[in-house]
């Protein structure tokens, strides 16, 4: 009898460790690194939250250059990590290759579509969040002129710009939106000096609220706006605290929610591959309101935004998706 109980205990123990070993999630961050105060950090926050809630350890990797993408993904897959989540559109080619090699491993990619049976593609409706901050910008602007500074000139960033423009124009039809892109190479994400100059050039033309979607470059945009006593708008993570009182709000892109959900789905056996689009309705994008910007947001603005939000969720307002037409009608 004693031996039997011991046997059962050992078996349970074995099976639980086996279970734990089986479930080993992993994240591969993009070039910005996991503490970029923005996009990648949001993914890290999601993974950490999952760890805190479930006690399951995850593995992660910060790539240092483009050639490491494939290595990192393959290494995780080979060592049995499952699911493996790639953060950022630049991982697409590498992921496509590796996902074919490991058809039994679950993969996910943020901001890009990879059409394979074992890949979950997570997209965000950045245009919806940008519409909301565009509305706020138009209401906060005194000159009726607002700016947008993008990072690399790619369709994804045009999507931010277009939603923002629509939000501004539908709030104030006479408004003027200045739009600039920092560059056409990866360096456009890490050039705060140029970001600052672009912001200054927009402010010289009269802009008094400037939204950035430019990663590290955007820190220069927010700095220039704060230096000039104007308002900036942050992106991806909550950047209100960078210059309290000088950042109108931040367009939140809940990569953290996407990562956490993917981990949970995989653990609970609810995993599904395919196409996921997270918008306002799904809580995938949002705007930030906290103690650093509450003085800037009037009740009127809050109401307008709540209304716009409800209209977008119900489908009454349709925010244009740049990706669909490769063109911005505003």
């Amino acid at each position: 009898m004693k031996r039997y109980i011991l046997g059962v205990a050992a078996a349970t123990l074995l099976s639980t460790t086996a279970m734990a070993e089986e479930f080993a999630p992993a994240v591969v961050y993009d070039l910005g690194g996991k503490f970029d105060k923005s996009f990648n950090e949001a993914a890290y926050t999601g993974a950490e939250r999952f760890k805190a809630e479930t006690g399951v350890e995850y593995r992660d990797f910060e790539i240092q250059n483009d050639s490491q993408r494939e290595q990192a993904l393959r290494n995780f897959a080979r060592r049995g990590a499952n699911p493996v989540i790639a953060i950022g559109f630049s991982h697409a080619n590498a992921l496509e290759k590796v996902a074919r090699e490991f058809p039994d491993t679950k993969f996910a990619i943020v901001d890009m579509v990879v059409e394979l049976p074992n890949v979950r593609s997570i997209l965000f409706k950045e245009q919806e969040g940008s519409y909301i901050v565009g509305k706020l910008a138009a209401m906060a602007s005194e000159t009726g002129k607002v700016g947008f500074v993008g990072g690399m000139d790619i369709p994804l960033i045009q999507k931010f710009a277009c939603g923002y423009k629509q939000g501004v124009m539908e709030t104030n039809a006479d408004a003027e939106v200045f739009q600039n892109m920092t560059g056409t190479t990866g360096a456009a994400w890490t050039d705060p000096v140029k970001g600052g100059e672009l912001a200054r050039s927009q402010m010289d033309r009269g802009a008094d609220v400037i939204y950035h979607a430019a990663g590290g470059t955007g820190l220069g945009v927010l700095q220039a706006a704060a230096d000039a006593g104007k308002l900036g708008i942050g992106v991806d993570s909550n950047q209100n605290a960078l210059h309290p009182g000088q950042v109108l709000t931040s367009m939140l892109k809940r990569v953290d929610v996407a990562v956490e959900t993917a981990f949970k789905d995989a653990r609970d056996g609810n995993w599904s591959s395919g196409f996921y689009t997270l918008g306002l309705a799904e809580g995938g994008v949002d705007w930030a309101l906290d103690e650093h910007n509450e003085a800037l947001i009037t009740d009127e603005m809050k109401e307008a935004v709540a209304q716009a939000r409800a209209d977008i969720v119900s489908g009454k307002i349709e925010v244009h998706d740049y990706m669909a037409t490769k063109d911005c009608p505003f």
Binding site: G32, G33, K34, F35, D36, K37, N40, E41, Q64, D153, F178, Q179, N180, M181, G183, T184, A187, T190, D191, P192, V193, K194, G196, E197, L198, R200, S201, D204, G216, L219, G220, Q223, L242
Partner: protein
């Protein structure tokens, strides 16, 4: 219209300052016969040190000191490799660039845990703008007032240092004994040696000057123009400075004009982006961004003529064959 021009020129001054400091830095080293393609690395190292020191101590001046020290240290490594050990100057310069890129990111991540960035600096930890006397009262005077208030006033101290360094460098090179010897050692080190002057010590002093100026350039990037260090924030400025140096045939005043030209093209590109140009319409971002490089090639090929480097540049001095 005049306002726009003044604003573009104002932005030109801000953008050409780091180029000017780096190019003058290269001038000292290359005039003494030590080629230095490690300007980029020294600037990056200095930018990181300045950003880190300013963030920790809260003083921009301590940041400047740290930036200069790190830059001098890197310059001495270059000197040690190619003056003392007669190593290949190009290889050593490339090594310094790689060292700076890797080390700044690694230390930044280890110390501050913000993805290789330093914490943002504010207030006294940054070089603020200096308003020249009477700038506000003269602002309304037509033409001159605008130029004085917008263009000349309101920059930070490092900008003024950079532009004062031009006549100073000219004076040092062409009116002092040190300058004469420095130029001689770049053209004909054997003659300098025969005169009983140490080639090694002269060249070391030249690379230290390079270190100081590169240190100021890097500090300008991280605690004056921006607020904090960001990975790879020099973004090729060291190489553009090198191009300006060659462009200007290793002479201080032409170096200033070359740097202003590059700065102007950059500033104009930023202003023109997304605006309607009469007769053409909106110019694509790509075309605007290629403009500075296209103009450089055209100017270099068509107008400047042959740029002859210092004769002894790139070769280590060997006192005697043994």
């Amino acid at each position: 219209m005049l306002d726009t021009i003044i604003l573009i020129l104002d932005s030109t001054v801000r953008l050409s300052t780091p180029l000017l400091l780096a190019a003058l830095a290269g001038l000292y080293s290359e005039r003494s016969g030590v080629f230095d393609i490690g300007l980029e690395g020294k600037m990056l190292g200095a930018a990181f040190a300045a950003g880190a020191a300013a963030a920790v101590t809260g003083s921009a001046w301590i940041g400047l000191g740290a930036g200069i020290l790190v830059s001098i240290a890197l310059a001495l490594v270059h000197g040690f490799a190619c003056i003392t050990h007669r190593g290949n100057q190009i290889v050593s310069g490339v090594a310094i660039n790689f060292l700076a890129i890797g080390l700044t990111a690694l230390l930044g991540q280890d110390w501050f845990r913000q993805g290789g960035r330093t914490p943002p600096v504010t207030g006294d930890a940054r070089f603020g703008s200096i308003v020249l006397p009477f700038a506000d009262s003269l602002r309304d005077v037509p033409v001159v007032g605008g130029i004085y208030a917008e263009l000349l006033s309101g920059h930070n101290i490092l900008v003024y240092i950079a532009f004062l360094a031009v006549p100073f460098t000219w004076w040092v090179l062409f009116r002092t004994r040190f300058g004469l010897r420095l130029r001689a050692v770049g053209e004909n080190p054997a003659a300098v040696d025969t005169a009983g002057i140490s080639v090694t010590w002269l060249r070391y002093r030249a690379v230290i000057c390079t270190g100081i100026l590169c240190g100021i350039a890097g500090t300008y990037l991280s605690v004056a123009q921006s607020a904090g260090f960001i990975k790879d924030m020099t973004a090729g400025k060291g190489f553009i400075a090198l191009a300006a140096l060659i462009f200007a045939k290793w002479k201080p005043v032409p170096v200033m004009f070359a740097c202003l030209l590059f700065g102007f093209l950059d500033a104009a590109a930023i202003r023109l982006q997304g605006q309607q140009v009469p007769g053409i319409g909106e110019v694509p971002v790509q075309a605007i961004q290629a403009l500075p490089y296209i103009l450089t090639v055209v100017l270099l090929a068509g107008f400047i003529g042959r740029a002859v480097p210092p004769k002894a540049g790139g070769t280590a001095y060997v006192k005697e064959r043994s």
